[in-house]
């Protein structure tokens, strides 16, 4: 628009983010809290029956128990996260295993180009492999040096910090590798298929 709309009497930021302004994607605001957003009840998963599986377009599926999974090579991650509901939280501290290391444990079929994360409780979200490789994504079981709380996705959640946080599936129990893209839960309900906060890919068609 040549004559952009200005909201009468709106003077701008309520809180000056100072030198952090460049880390806040458009339309987002900084929060110090950690809001909880879920579509349904929080699943309660005992660690004795927790398992993580990689299946689909792989030479042979693999399943880890909790003990096996948390013994995989893991590290600390400090990342900024942005939720489509407009909050951004900087420097969140996690501990977990990269998807590179998880996928290295299976022989990925070269036809695989997409991955769907599946969660306890039935949630799904879809991602191109190009968005989860090269240390862009990890499965975390600790937040702020403590076991990840169920409300925040524990025992373990996927974290894909460069995309809106609905892509970071809580209560994750596995990955399915696929040749074709298949919309997940929110992606089937009007939200953007990829969800890049810096491009404000909130809803379908954005």
């Amino acid at each position: 628009m040549s004559d952009p709309f200005v909201s009468r009497g709106f003077t701008g930021r309520a809180h000056d983010p100072g030198d952090k302004a460049g880390r806040i994607p458009p339309g987002q605001y900084l929060t110090d809290g950690f809001p909880v957003l879920s579509a349904g009840p929080t699943p309660q998963i005992g660690l004795d029956r927790w398992a993580f599986t990689i299946e689909g377009l792989v030479a042979a599926p693999i399943t880890w128990s909790w003990e096996q999974f948390t013994a995989l090579p893991s590290r600390d991650w400090t990342v900024d996260i942005s939720c489509v509901t407009k909050w951004t939280k900087l420097d969140t501290a996690w501990h977990g295993v990269s998807l590179d290391d998880l996928l290295a444990a299976v022989e990925v079929d070269p036809r695989a180009r997409f991955v769907t994360a599946h969660s306890y409780g039935g949630y799904t979200t879809n991602l191109p492999l190009t968005d989860v490789l090269n240390n862009q994504a990890f499965v975390a079981w600790q937040y702020d040096d403590a076991p990840l709380e169920p409300a925040h996705g524990g025992p373990a959640r996927l974290v894909v910090p460069h995309l809106y946080f609905w892509k970071s599936a809580k209560w994750v129990r596995g990955l399915r590798l696929m040749a074709e893209d298949e919309p997940g839960f929110w992606e089937s309900l009007g939200y953007h298929n990829r969800g890049d906060p810096w491009r404000e890919e909130r809803y379908s068609g954005d």
Binding site: P4, F5, V6, S7, R8, G9, F10, T11, G12, R13, A14, H15, P26, G27, Q28, Y29, P35, V36, L37, S38, A39, G40, P41, T42, P43, Q44, T85, K86, G121, G122, A151, F185, W186, S188, L189, G190, R202, Y203, S204, G205, D206
Partner: protein, 245 residues
């Protein structure tokens, strides 16, 4: 690909105080689209220097009202967008919005019931859209609203809810006031807990469709409590309605 949700400039045609901290704003929409009860709109404010702030607000009105929506907005003291609505916006002002948004926390009469609605504070807003839609529909499913507020004057839509329930034997209201209760109060006086959930479940009369909206702790307690009381997790839809500043 569905039609993109484009920004449009709505006009504020009415402002109604619901409680000391909560008001409803009627927005006339040039590109109105029928919503489903439970959905929200995104609001975008633009400052002269180009800075933009966005927030989401639930629609309170039923989709049967064409051409406009009511957004009910709670004032968050240190917020950025809600104080603008409460302190600056007047009838006749223009506000940039897009929507309706949200495809899961929704109810429409075809989904049936009984409906078990559980609200904390301003979490009642999307549930009110469901009750208004239900009231406008014939042969509506039974419904129970279990809601929690701090004091009686903080109960949003209090008179309208009472009138709806008085005119409809299929609607049951269960209210708890957690901070202060007026003399003669016959409702509950504590946070939503298991006995309250059990009473609401019994009042629903059959396995319900549950919608829970409110602060995180309330939503977690109510959703987990319903599942422990035997409600299928697939029948429990939740939306955190934290203060949206």
């Amino acid at each position: 690909m569905p039609e993109p949700l484009t920004w449009q400039i709505a006009t504020v045609t009415a402002i109604r105080a619901e409680t000391p901290q909560v008001s409803s704003f009627t927005l006339a929409l040039p590109a109105w689209r029928a919503h489903r009860a439970g959905q929200h709109y995104d609001v975008r404010l633009t400052a002269p220097d180009g800075y933009r702030a966005q927030r989401s607000y639930s629609i309170a009105s039923p989709p049967s009202r064409r051409g406009e929506v009511d957004l009910t907005i709670e004032r968050i003291a240190d917020g950025e967008v809600s104080p603008y609505f409460h302190d600056v916006v007047e009838v006749g002002d223009r506000v940039e919005v897009r929507g309706p948004i949200g495809g899961y926390f929704v109810w429409e009469p075809v989904l049936g019931g009984p409906l078990l609605l559980i609200a904390g504070g301003s979490g009642v807003v999307p549930l009110m859209a469901m009750l208004r839609e239900r009231a406008a529909a014939d042969g509506a499913a039974p419904a129970v609203l279990l809601s929690s507020a701090r004091t009686l004057e903080d109960v949003i839509y209090r008179d309208e809810l009472a009138a709806l329930a008085a005119a409809d034997r299929g609607l049951r209201l269960i209210q708890t006031l957690t901070r202060a209760q007026p003399p003669g109060w016959t409702g509950y006086d504590r946070r939503i807990d298991r006995p309250m959930l059990a009473e609401a479940l019994a009042a629903a009369g059959a396995p319900p469709l549950a919608y829970i909206c409110g602060p995180t702790l309330l939503v977690e307690a109510a959703a987990n409590g319903l599942v422990e009381l035997g409600v299928s997790p697939a029948q429990v839809r939740t939306e955190r309605f934290g203060p949206t500043s």
